[in-house]
């Protein structure tokens, strides 16, 4: 909710140095960044990444351990294009973290669902869930095999995993939401991030099967601190940057009505 105070310090830019770059596919790269200053980042929270001279964009890290932060970036505009051209040793600037991350305070069986590059915060939360020792399954939905991002990493964490490809080139063929429908009843909680259509479908499934969910939404974020209003979620008055980006099913259902 838009209630909590921020440590003023997180509004200030800090920076890190790119230590490693991994190309997942033609349009998606991950960058390991050695950060200069430790700022606690919960899975699902986001930073505003800034390349001086270009725009600032919201990104939810795909891993963070206090000194190493990984961001996963899809190329889709001039700023992300410029980020893709960065080299090892380059500096990146960021402020944050902002927003509410995933709440893992309840012990139980977790179903983790990432769609496309929305898998970023989901693989980070998978690391945290493994530390907590919760039972969990990691599901990644992509168009085709070469788009898969973190399925091997989730395997190596010892989680049950499933890759769902729309074209059937690997794993299970079909839509990730169709697969979720088959397994959802075995879980207490669902954590998801991905395209809007997928999230709304997941919300519907969770409501139908009585599973509590937390879903991370994407939006155009400008100020990052809940004052400019650019990132309003539909016409709810809720702000993705401050009330989200992770919203729970209770909140979504009460604001979005009978989705």
């Amino acid at each position: 909710m838009h209630l909590k105070g921020y440590d003023i310090n997180i509004l200030r830019f800090t920076w890190g140095v790119i230590e490693d770059i991994l190309s997942h596919s033609e349009s998606i790269k991950s960058f390991n960044i050695r950060v200069r200053e430790h700022r606690h980042i919960n899975p699902g929270q986001f930073i505003m990444l800034w390349i001086p001279g270009l725009e600032e964009i919201p990104l939810s890290p795909s891993y963070y351990d206090g000194s190493l932060m990984r961001i996963t970036v899809m190329r889709r505009g001039p700023t992300t294009e410029a980020i893709h051209k960065l080299q090892i040793g380059d500096r990146v600037f960021y402020r944050g973290p902002f927003g509410n991350g995933f709440n893992l305070s309840n012990k139980g069986r977790y179903l983790l669902v990432g769609g496309g590059y929305g898998a970023s915060p989901i693989i980070y939360v998978a690391h945290r869930i493994r530390e907590y020792g919760y039972e969990a399954m990691y599901v990644e939905g992509v168009k085709t095999r070469s788009d898969a991002l973190f399925i091997d990493e989730a395997d190596s964490l010892g989680l049950n995993t499933a890759l769902v490809t729309e074209d059937g080139s690997s794993g299970i063929k079909g839509l990730v939401t169709d697969y979720i429908k088959e397994v959802i009843s075995e879980y207490d909680y669902l954590l998801g991030c991905g395209p809007e259509g997928m999230l709304l479908k997941l919300l519907e499934l969770c409501n139908r099967y009585g599973v509590e969910c937390q879903l991370s939404f994407e939006a155009i974020v400008k100020c990052g601190v809940g004052i400019c209003g650019s990132c309003e979620l539909y016409d709810t008055g809720l702000l993705v940057c401050r009330d989200g980006p992770v919203f729970n099913s209770k909140m979504l259902s009460s604001y979005l009505g009978g989705v």
Binding site: W15, E56, K222, G226, I227
Partner: protein, 300 residues
Amino acid sequence: MDLRVKLGRLEFRNPVILASGILGLSGSQLRRVCEYGFGGLTTKSYTIEARKGYDTPILAYVKCGLLNAVGLENPGYRELARVKESLKDIGIPIIVSIAGSKVDEFTTIASYVDELGFDAIELNLSCPHVEGMGLELGDDPNYVYKIVSGVSSIVSIPVYVKIGLHRDIMATVGKSLDGGAEGITAINTIRALAIDVYARKPVLSNIYGGLSGPAIHPIAVRIVYDIYREYRIPIIGVGGVSSWDDVIEFILAGASAVGVGTVIAYKGLDVVREILDGIKTYMVDEGFKELSGLIGYANK
């Protein structure tokens, strides 16, 4: 205890109002903000055409406040019909902020706002980061008179002029009142610049932005005090309120209502309740029953 205040023809359940520029892009945002206890709301500035606003970064941290250069982002004044529709039963005064570059832009929007049944108009003649649509309008007292008299002569609702750090503040205020303004909103953010020392570049995409937050509070208090002393008119004090005592300070200086903005970035919307609780405690401790009795108290 009575927190109600009168601001000219308007009456507020308490003096804390949402300053223009914060979360006023849509009716749904304003509705939500209202739930947190504000006495009144000011919309973002609306212009004739929709404006996309500037590229990010639009916000820069500085030690004593924030710099912003949003660029008057808004969906265009026609959208105000939808805003009004979603706020029709809200029960607190809504002030619509208007920005423009020519007299007829202000009058076109103002008459629409009046027709829609909003409670008041605030003419933004002091935006420090959009060329031709702000500070320089307010810097020219004769143009201020043209805009304000043009608007005041065609609307029935109160007109406020939002001023900034103009060349001759008292001349700008005087011409606003000559033009028919019922009162003044003081002050807007102050043109400023922040450079990141590691990036070695200005942080804001627009380079310049408006400084808000604690740094500008004493300046705003000074201006409110001076205006009240000179004219004894309704004033909305805005600038760097971060807690209840800043609100009381504005009221003692002569403000009848007080705008809150930047502190929401730090403390969230719930800060309104904290401020109102602080005001109530102060009134009990100091033996005041009616907040309105404190307006201009330090200025007598």
